[in-house]
Amino acid sequence: MGFEQFGIVSFTSTTKTEKFVDFLKEGKVCGTICKSCGAKFFPPRGDCNFCLSEEMEWFGITGAGELITYTQAMYAPAGFEKDVPYTLGVARFEDGAKVFGRLDKSIPDENIRPGMKVRLKVIDLDDDRLSYVLTQA
């Protein structure tokens, strides 16, 4: 299995950024940096739109981020029905990377608000799949 291991339902099996999944297995959430011009990308990209290079190296998103916005979804598309309600959000990390994802189910509802400190955590899902969540820092 390759990239299709990422997420609850996958729609993408092949990508130049397949190593994202290998890093998840090591507990790391990573983006890419262009070796030629230094541009930083999250989500990771295999091609640099600034200098056209496809030489990338990986960097881990570490430290604390800040939740920018969120929503608690009460309905879900096909394949996600059993998960509702779940909370989706966007956080900005110390190095400037913004990350979209779900919030950890263990965070009490009353703690969830823009400005909440978060960090990234890799989680195992059913059927040998894996993903990451934003959890309270």
Partner: protein
């Protein structure tokens, strides 16, 4: 730039489930546009057909629809930018005419959302976002607008009730629009019932699926004057795009693509927000209309809530917005939506909007967004 005019507009009734095929649905708008006019298919030099393909069973619908409307052997092709497809169609038709390539071009938007089962629809819904990096979390359109609502509340102190007031306005006009799918009168209590889709957006903050079609016929200045007593001129066309991925967004309190599209449209028209007499904005959710107030410059950033609290976007207000009920009441048949908005503005500027008429409307604006701020189209029209 050569002048391009709208010479005819039409739309089908928007309904939950159209009892016919897509070619017949397309014909409804075509007939409505040409009814009573001396224009027939053989005078149409080319057509642009617009829909969101994920709802179509028919592959390459442009050819099928051109045949059924009697448009062969003239050119036809398909243009797509999801919910703003037919505004992108307008942009394409304008270019075809302004370039001198064609004199009369039709934009036909349609969507039969009931063409696929609700299970299929549920599956499609999850793929409206970045399928590699976002869809694996379980995303859908209302959740994205909900994150923008939360961003707007946080930054400006907007409330759920402010959004409720937008839906209340919509229902006021949905009741009097015979082409709308949702024609029930609503109370604020009903709107505020805590039936959440994606917090803070509730059931009544979100528009419904619908089947429908729209038709806009455009012509060069000379042809427009020959074929139409009161052409509506295209004055400004602005389009802009923004990252599909939420990680690529700087703010969640407005849509960058709409702000830039508006600036481009105003610049091309040589007009500003204060010159607009009536507007149709893309209210697929109440929050989308709230952001449109500010993105279009009808209110300063953060002051959109004051517009609706003071009823300034009602028919009698300073800047009437969606006085045909908008997408919230009309329904949102994706590919047909932009054309329906353009139709409303053309009728307003010709003084033919019936009970929805804004007195002395001379300049009108259409704001039509594809995806949650991926594609922004803003178009400005006038009768002079």
């Amino acid at each position: 730039m050569p002048k391009v005019g709208i010479i005819a507009v039409g739309q089908s009734a928007f309904v939950r489930s159209y009892p016919g095929s897509i070619r017949e649905l397309a014909f409804e708008a075509f007939r409505d546009a040409l009814k009573g006019l001396p224009i027939r298919a053989q005078q149409i030099d080319a057509s642009v057909v617009c829909s969101a393909p994920e709802y179509d069973k028919q592959r390459t619908p442009a050819g099928l629809i051109a045949e059924y409307l009697g448009l062969n052997p003239q050119p036809t092709f398909y243009v797509e930018s999801v919910c703003s497809s037919s505004s992108s169609g307008l942009r394409t038709a304008y270019a075809l005419i302004a370039s001198g390539l064609h004199d009369v071009v039709m934009v036909l938007g349609f969507q039969k959302m009931s063409e696929i089962s609700s299970a299929e629809s549920q599956e499609r819904m999850g793929r409206g976002a970045d399928i590699q990096w976002e869809a694996p979390f379980g995303t859908m359109m209302p959740a994205y607008y909900a994150m923008h609502a939360r961003g707007h509340f946080e930054k400006y102190g907007t409330t759920e009730e402010d959004l409720g007031l937008i839906r209340l306005k919509s229902s006021t006009y949905g009741v009097i629009n015979e082409k709308a799918v949702f024609r029930k009168s609503l109370t604020l209590d009903k709107i505020m019932e805590p039936k959440y889709i994606a917090t803070p957006l509730k059931m009544m903050d979100c528009c419904a699926n619908a089947d429908g079609s729209s038709c806009v016929l455009l012509a060069s200045e000379q042809k427009a004057k020959e074929l139409c007593e009161k052409p509506v001129w295209v004055r400004g066309l602005g389009m802009a795009t923004a990252p599909i991925n939420m990680a690529g967004r700087d703010t969640f309190s407005g849509l960058k693509c709409a702000q830039l599209a508006a600036r481009r449209a105003y610049d091309m028209a040589g007009l500003g927000p204060k010159d607009i007499d009536v507007a149709e904005v893309h209210d697929c959710s109440t929050e989308a209309e709230m952001m449109a107030y500010e993105d279009l410059g009808f209110a300063e950033p953060g002051k959109g809530k004051d517009l609706i609290r003071n009823k300034e976007t009602y028919r009698e207000g300073r800047i009437p917005v969606n006085v045909d009920g908008g997408l919230l009441s009309k329904g949102h048949p994706i590919g047909a939506t932009g054309g329906s908005q353009i139709r409303t503005i053309a009728l307003q500027l010709r003084g033919e909007a019936g009970p929805m008429q804004v007195p002395n409307a001379k300049v009108g604006l259409v704001h039509n967004i594809g995806g949650v701020g991926i594609y922004g189209n803003v178009s400005i029209f006038s009768v002079d």
